[in-house]
Amino acid sequence: MDVYLPIANLSVDAFVIILLGGVVGILSGMFGVGGGFMTTPLLIFYGIPPTVAAASASTQVTGASVSGVFAHMKRGGVDIQMGSVLVIGGLFGTIIGAGLFRLLQEWGQIDTVINILYVLMLGTIGGFMAWESWQSVSALRGGRPAPAKKRRHHPLVANLPYRWRFYRSGLYISPLAPLILGFVTGVLTMLLGVGGGFIMVPAMLYLLGMGAQVVVGTSLFQILFVTISSTMMHSLTTKSVDIVLAVLMLFGSVTGAQIGARIAQRMRPEYLRALLAGIVLIVAIRMALGLGWQPDEIYSVQPL
């Protein structure tokens, strides 16, 4: 069934988009990430203009993260205080990100920056996750218990002034650290159309040293508000949010998320993490190769 996208100005096969949302939804349900890091590249690959893809993907992540936030709030898995600091940083991040987006667009370098950022982030995080899950999986196979990790924050974080107490997270650290973290993910959300969960979660665990029971919920809480802000910024500046595209993807992703969540319940978390690491690394490698391969289109048009 063909559907015309009024903002992207082209017609797409609705089933392909719903299916694409479904695949991303399954992944996000399985791993508790928004899945934006897969949506944007897949949409661009399908022929949607990059700006529309990034803007509409952030709208879709908003919808995809709502139910997660509710679920985690019910069981007390959200540190609202920490989340609010992250959100404030994130809001500033989206504003700065919007300016950066426009600047890069004028220079004609937005696509390259998006691609390089993807490669760097996915490569680093995927590599890190792969290494960690290899350790835990081999520990599982060997029957030995995994070495218990010392939970503590990074020395850089410890040195920041004006400490606050974050009771839920079990932390006594400066709010500047989550503020900066929120800011960085806000910029990335605006530029890449990702929720930033796959950066937030490791950063919260290993940089801030937050308690694992509040990490995913708080990250979803921040993603929800920052993608809302990013949708607003895109609506006001680039005017590239395609609501029809976002709704089509939501159809697929909310359904996929439920299926993914059920799959996740039947798998060991160690294997689940290893699988996610593999997927993230594959996307990173594909994008890294893409930078070096001759692109399909040497020329691109931008209205003056």
Partner: protein, 260 residues
């Protein structure tokens, strides 16, 4: 229906052809028309097919013995653009060079009865912008003809493969040197605006008659128009709406799946 329209047209022509011949002694006259004057872009829009047809009225109703050729041109609104060119720098492909073009038609299609190079000489083709490689795209700040040509070729090729620039040789059918018709395809990615349809009558490599009086309007309609206007003029409202819709969607889906 089209055939009947053509027949009606023919009847009308034969009635007025006496007057027309007296008004214009030597030159034939063109009576062009198009299958639809408006194309509406709606939710199921996947492109459209336009039938451009018409009749040639000869002075005193005498059909000439020489071969007559017809070219039909459909042209969308022009736009100023920046064309960026990717080059390989330090192993990766990035936008390295760019050029501005001040008048690039958003859509351009030419259909002819025979291959263009057989019916017009290059000079005439340039004057009438006949052929996708003869469009006057007005590059800005031209320093070298070589560079201009490279960008020009890149832009034309990009639009040709995207279906926005079309050249169809031999797709104008001429019946008894009097009636002509051609089908032109408009893809779904077509820009909105006012389009002009031009018909050119060609004999011995010269354009002897040209008529660009037919206009076609392509515009979004209904929901698509509503969304576009909202996003463009009421951005704040549109953004809030987009957020509310996606929130509701996620929330409802969560409720729904809890029951299953």
């Amino acid at each position: 229906m089209i055939i009947r329209a053509l027949l009606l047209l023919l009847a009308a022509i034969s009635a007025v052809s006496g007057q027309a011949a007296r008004a214009q002694q030597d030159e034939p006259k063109l009576v062009p028309d198009v299958s639809q004057r408006q194309i509406a872009i709606e939710s199921g829009f996947t492109g459209a097919e336009l039938l451009m047809f018409g009749a040639i009225i000869y002075p005193r109703g005498v059909t000439p013995s020489e071969q007559i050729d017809v070219a039909v041109v459909l042209r969308g609104p022009s736009q100023a653009i920046t064309l960026r060119e990717k080059q390989r720098i330090l192993g990766i492909w990035i936008n390295a060079d760019s050029k501005e073009f001040l008048s690039v038609p958003g859509y351009y299609a030419v259909a002819t009865s025979r291959p263009l190079n057989k019916i017009v000489n290059p000079r005439t083709a340039d004057i009438y912008e006949l052929g996708i490689d003869r469009l006057q795209l007005s590059p800005r700040g031209s320093f070298s003809a070589n560079e201009d040509q490279r960008f020009n070729a890149g832009l034309v090729d990009l639009n040709r493969r995207g279906g926005l620039f079309r050249q169809q040789a031999g797709s104008v059918e001429i019946t008894d040197s009097v009636l002509y018709r051609a089908r032109l395809l408009v893809p779904s990615s077509v820009p909105v605006g006012r389009y002009t349809a031009e018909t050119l009558l060609i004999r011995n490599g010269e354009v002897i008659m040209a008529d660009d009086s037919v206009e076609i309007e392509i515009r979004k309609k209904g929901f698509e128009q509503f969304v576009t206007v909202l996003a463009d003029r009421y951005s704040l409202l549109y953004g809030i709406l987009a957020v509310v819709i996606s929130l509701l969607f996620g929330w409802m889906a969560a409720l729904l799946f809890q029951r299953i």
